[in-house]
């Protein structure tokens, strides 16, 4: 069937929105208009076409995102794509008496240089060739948002304020309570329905969610409702964990106490939400650029040729978004019939719904080298895990990988000039897919690997952060000479994967043992009984046992 199987994306929480924003940016900056070669990617899977009140065609993400009050800064909730902002000065209506109107204006939010440039049709064309210091001017995700959203996409919670320490939205229970309000029960659920009603072959949901704060509870409740209403649709969840919490950098004793409390709260949120995802999703993969995830994010993971600041969500979320963009290509290509359901069938046998995500960013090699040499000389693991407390093994793993940006000509030398390459056993393979599968077969044991190769590399033009080594050239290859300061890296090759193996059991076990140490009764903010908590701990333990590997193969 060639019909597009549409996916609706849901984003819950501020960090999830950071990741989501990069993801939409990555896709939209790679759009090619007026190109002669049709794109390999079917953008209709994640985007929708519509038209605004002026009859202009719009192409917007099929997306609903949720965030707290005051988290948007300069972005208007409804966006400006469908209707321009109301003009307060020339406003007339029958709503009030002229002399009985009290206007309360907040200070106008200043737009940063990047936002000003993309607002202006003159500078819009050149934005991707310009360097913006978004590291300094990014406070919230909307600061580097390139995509323009449909008016129904942005949903703001009025009950809680972003970064408000008096009434924080920090526990699972607050989220489940919030889900019961009319705003979600009626408006939000209706918006999901509006999106799915438009789809001819609706496939299911992508859910990106914070899982360390109240959004863990909100998204969990939402999943329960989705399961109820859309029972046969696919639900793929990516719980995200920031790589840095500002409260972990305490100075005073008092701050230390607060920080320890927050760490514990986060562990409970993680436990409760993972338990829910296990029940209500088809598959979930926790994402974090740091190694531990809990109780604190811990040491940040290092990637070859990448220097990123783990304290900046703008940086760490870009890496997570790159992985998401790459692995989801598998079921977003025009050429195949692969769907998310097929992915689950391969990866979640025996109820192993938690999987690990990995990335090799950038998958770069010398500009004059070939894939065959690169793989031959590769030392250490090919990819880095992005799932906390989980190193991806080479033993009894089910894995799906996607590689993008390696052209046919970069696989190996032509036969006549091949020289020593000809002697390598891999020389007989003619496609990226075959060669990588062969490499994986040689370097792993009792592992099933499925590779999808996409020619198009990952577009990393601004607003993507410049986190690459100087020796990476503008085409993503490793150059001999460092690139000049004003060179923009256009795109890089990238490899990313989803993996299911015994290592996920270790991740669950570590979460279980951290959560078990906490006495839930002390955390009065959680309206959860001790028995219920114990049951949840047991469920996670049972879940972990699914990964014990004495019977498979």
């Amino acid at each position: 069937m060639t019909n597009t199987q549409e996916i609706l994306t849901l984003q819950f929480g501020h960090y999830a929105n950071f990741v989501g924003t990069h993801w939409w940016n990555l896709q939209e900056t790679s759009f090619q208009y007026n190109s002669n070669t049709p794109s390999e990617i079917n953008h209709d899977v994640l985007f929708r076409e519509g038209h605004n009140s002026k009859g202009l065609v719009t192409f917007t993400p099929r997306l609903l995102l949720v965030d707290l009050k005051c988290s948007l800064k300069s972005l208007p909730t409804e966006g400006e794509l469908y209707e321009s902002l109301p003009d307060i000065a020339h406003y007339s209506g029958v709503n009030w008496d002229e002399n009985k109107l009290d206007i309360r204006k907040e200070q106008k939010q200043h737009k940063n240089e990047f936002q000003q440039d993309i607002d202006n049709p003159k500078t819009l064309q050149q934005f991707s060739q310009k360097k913006y210091n978004l590291e300094d001017s990014t406070e919230v995700w909307s600061d580097y948002l390139y995509s323009r959203f449909h008016p129904r996409s942005v949903n703001i919670i009025n009950e809680y304020q972003h970064c408000n320490k008096e009434t924080p939205f920090d526990t699972f229970s607050l989220g489940t309570e919030l889900w019961k309000t009319d705003f979600f029960q009626e408006d939000f659920v209706d918006k999901i329905r509006n999106y799915t009603e438009e789809c001819d072959h609706f496939q299911g949901f992508h859910v990106l969610t914070d899982c360390t704060n109240g959004f863990a509870g909100l998204s969990s409740s939402c999943l329960e409702d989705i399961r109820d209403e859309y029972d046969r649709k696919s639900v793929l969840v990516f719980p995200t964990i920031p790589s840095f919490f500002p409260d972990n950098e305490y100075k005073t004793d008092r701050e230390q106490v607060t920080s320890i409390m927050s760490d514990s709260t986060r562990v409970i949120n993680l436990l409760l939400s993972f338990n829910n995802f296990k029940q209500h999703s088809n598959m979930f993969s926790p994402l974090c650029t740091s190694k531990d995830g809990w109780r604190q994010p811990g040491e940040s993971r290092q990637f070859y040729h990448v220097n990123y600041n783990f304290k900046l969500p703008y940086h760490s979320s870009a890496i997570l978004a790159s992985a998401l963009e790459t692995i989801t290509l598998k079921y977003r290509l025009k050429s195949n019939t692969f769907s998310t359901m097929d992915l689950y069938a391969d990866l979640t046998a025996n109820g192993r719904k938690a999987v690990a995500t990995s990335i090799c960013l950038p998958f770069s090699f010398n500009c004059d080298a070939y894939l065959i040499d690169c793989l031959d000389q590769w030392e250490g693991p090919l990819y880095q895990s992005l799932t906390p407390r989980c190193t991806i093994g080479t033993n009894r793993v089910m894995q799906h990988l996607t590689i993008s940006g390696i052209s046919e000509s970069k696989i190996k030398k032509p036969y006549n000039f091949a020289g020593k390459q000809k002697d390598m056993p891999a020389y007989k393979y003619n496609s990226v897919k075959e060669m990588l599968e062969y490499y994986l077969a040689c370097t792993t044991y009792a592992t099933a690997s499925h590779v999808t190769a996409v020619e198009k590399p990952l577009t990393v033009k601004p607003p993507y952060p410049d986190i690459f080594d100087k020796i990476i050239g503008s085409d993503g290859n490793v150059n001999m000479n460092p690139r000049s300061d004003n060179t923009i890296i256009e795109s890089v090759p990238v490899l990313a994967g989803l993996h299911s193996g015994t290592e996920l059991g270790e991740m669950l076990e570590s979460l279980h043992s951290e959560a078990r140490k906490l006495k839930i009764a002390r955390f009065h903010q959680f309206t959860i009984e001790r028995d219920e908590y114990e049951e949840c701990l047991n469920d996670i333990l049972t879940f972990k046992e699914e990964y014990e590997d004495s019977y498979l193969i």
Binding site: C70, V94, E166, E229
Partner: protein
């Protein structure tokens, strides 16, 4: 004390200081809310930093929109919005009254009265005030006139008078359409649908249902008359159940075979609908509409379109119930026993397209037990404002129906209660009498603010009201146009009994609790180990 010993780093404010914290919070929030009380209150337009607009006069909405940093203020805000959750009105009054009770109480506490004695007085006064409330309550017949009065009183405090009158008619008609004998009205059976065009006063009641989606097939009719309505919750879309593993390949033929088998299953369901349609519509001028809660894929739509059927997919869950009430018929969960008896009827079904959005009207129903209020407005924020006020208007009507009574508005209750409490205080022994006086004084905040907002001199107005009240046993309220005392009954100004009762109860409790606080602390956990 114990906590601060265990945790010496807690921030503590004691006694007078603690009270000062609470009072400043209560005053602060009172000042913000004061100006929007009553029909002459100001409308507030909130403009966010990004340019988003919210226009409101409703205390509840305002409290939700405001960013409150003060802990006491946020406590009061939460209590007041809880009041709204229960009864749909009275938020602004709650905030004003709590603030005023604290202010009046503070005067006596500053003179050395113990807060406990003061709150004792509050408690006694509260019981007495509830007695007064019961005394002036007016039993009503649930007829159009009475319901219009109470609904109009509530709505005029929320939107402009012109709009309030339009909305009042719509709300009253909607509730009366649903009302049958003595059964309680389920307000969920009134659908609120927004349409962004025309102006606010074009808001109307549709005696039927308006759905926010239309058919998704170009060949389907846009309008049908004399329609049978089939309401169902059955999937009419092909959902593949075979998997297409990346590791184990199937041949193309194998795959096609699976698809065909699955497809056949859905086709059978579509055929059943078509069979029924042919049976009931043969030889007459009737037509057929399918409204499904689940999906319908293009192939199924195509088959239905060929038969001239309008088919809508992914209807709201609640609309299943509403459709059965509006058109009759039964919502089907399977097609095993389809017959004419499960079908509903509507005189006309037609589609209306507005930009990207489609609406389907199901109208001319025989005896609709479910109706739709179709809200119109030129932009999102005016539609939101209408929606909020309609919700409140419906609640006000429903409260009146449930109470089977109303009370005179325009500050009449407060003036009356003040008078009775002042007479009654002489019978109370001891210092708690002071609490009763403070309470009686505090009640007057409502007529006082009404006077201020209408531009009258506060002292003069209150004196006039009290004078009139002394010689006239009838309840006396304030005429906001002339500034003179009136009998609210004559002017048709009525409030909900339950709302006032809630206000008296919750304000007294919260104000007492805040007055009794003698220590405010901000502390973390006492021990480091979770």
């Amino acid at each position: 004390m114990a906590i601060s010993l265990l945790n010496p780093k807690a921030e503590v404010a004691r006694a007078a200081q603690a009270l000062a914290v609470n009072i400043s919070g209560a005053k602060g929030i009172q000042d913000v809310m004061k100006s929007n009380l009553g029909p002459k209150g100001t409308m507030k337009m909130l403009v966010s930093g990004a340019g988003d607009i919210k226009i409101t006069k409703d205390g509840n909405i305002l409290l939700h929109e405001m960013q409150i940093q003060h802990p006491t203020a946020s406590l009061i805000a939460r209590a007041s919005t809880a009041q709204d959750d229960m009864t749909g009105d009275g938020t602004t009054s709650t905030v004003l009254l709590i603030g005023e009770l604290l202010k009046q109480g503070d005067i006596y506490i500053a003179e050395g009265l113990h807060p406990r004695i003061l709150t004792d007085g509050f408690d006694k006064a509260k019981t007495k005030a509830l007695e007064v409330l019961d005394k002036i309550k007016i039993a009503i017949e649930p007829n159009k006139e009475n319901l219009t009065d109470v609904c109009r009183t509530s709505l005029r405090t929320k939107v402009h008078q012109k709009l309030a009158d339009v909305l009042t008619d719509v709300c009253v008609e909607a509730v009366l359409a649903l009302k049958s004998q003595d059964k309680p009205v389920d307000l969920h059976m009134i659908e609120l649908m927004q349409m962004q065009h025309k102006t606010e006063t074009d808001t109307t009641l549709v005696k039927g249902l308006v759905l926010d989606h239309g058919s998704r097939h170009p060949d389907m009719p846009k309008r049908l008359e004399n329609c049978y309505i089939l309401t169902c919750n059955v999937s009419l879309e092909y959902e593949k159940s075979e998997v297409n593993s990346g590791f184990f390949y199937k041949t193309a033929e194998e795959r096609d075979k699976m698809v065909a088998a699955e497809r056949e299953f859905i086709d059978q369901r579509v055929k059943k609908i078509i069979e029924l349609k042919k049976k009931v519509c043969a030889g007459n001028n009737k037509s057929f509409v399918v409204i499904n809660q689940k999906g319908i894929d293009p192939m199924s739509l195509d088959q239905l379109a060929k038969e001239g059927i309008i088919a809508l997919r992914r209807a709201k869950r609640r609309n299943m119930e509403r459709l059965a009430l509006a058109c009759g018929g039964v919502a089907m969960n399977s097609f095993d026993d389809l017959s004419e008896s499960v079908l509903g009827y509507a005189g006309v079904v037609y589609e209306h397209v507005l930009g990207e959005n489609k609406y389907t009207f199901v109208e001319d129903c025989k005896n609709p037990q479910s109706v739709t209020i179709l809200m119109k407005g030129p932009n999102k924020h005016s539609l939101d404002q209408i929606k909020d006020s309609i919700r409140d208007g419906l609640r006000a009507i429903n409260n009146a129906l449930e109470d089977k009574a109303v009370i005179p508005g325009a500050g009449a209750f407060e003036v009356m209660a003040n008078k009775e409490l002042m007479q009654w205080k002489d019978t109370i022994k001891g210092k708690s009498r002071l609490g009763v006086i403070a309470y009686a004084e505090a009640l007057l905040i409502i007529p006082k603010v009404l006077a201020t907002n209408s531009g009258f001199d506060v002292q003069e107005t209150i004196v006039k009201l009290q004078e009139e009240s002394r010689i006239n046993p009838e309840p006396i309220g304030l005429d906001l146009v002339s500034g003179e005392p009136i009998n609210p009954k004559d002017a048709g100004i009525f409030d909900n009994y339950i709302v006032k009762k809630q206000i008296i109860n919750s304000c007294s409790v919260i104000a007492s609790n805040l007055l009794l606080v003698d220590e405010v602390m901000r502390a973390g956990m006492s021990s480091l180990k979770g």
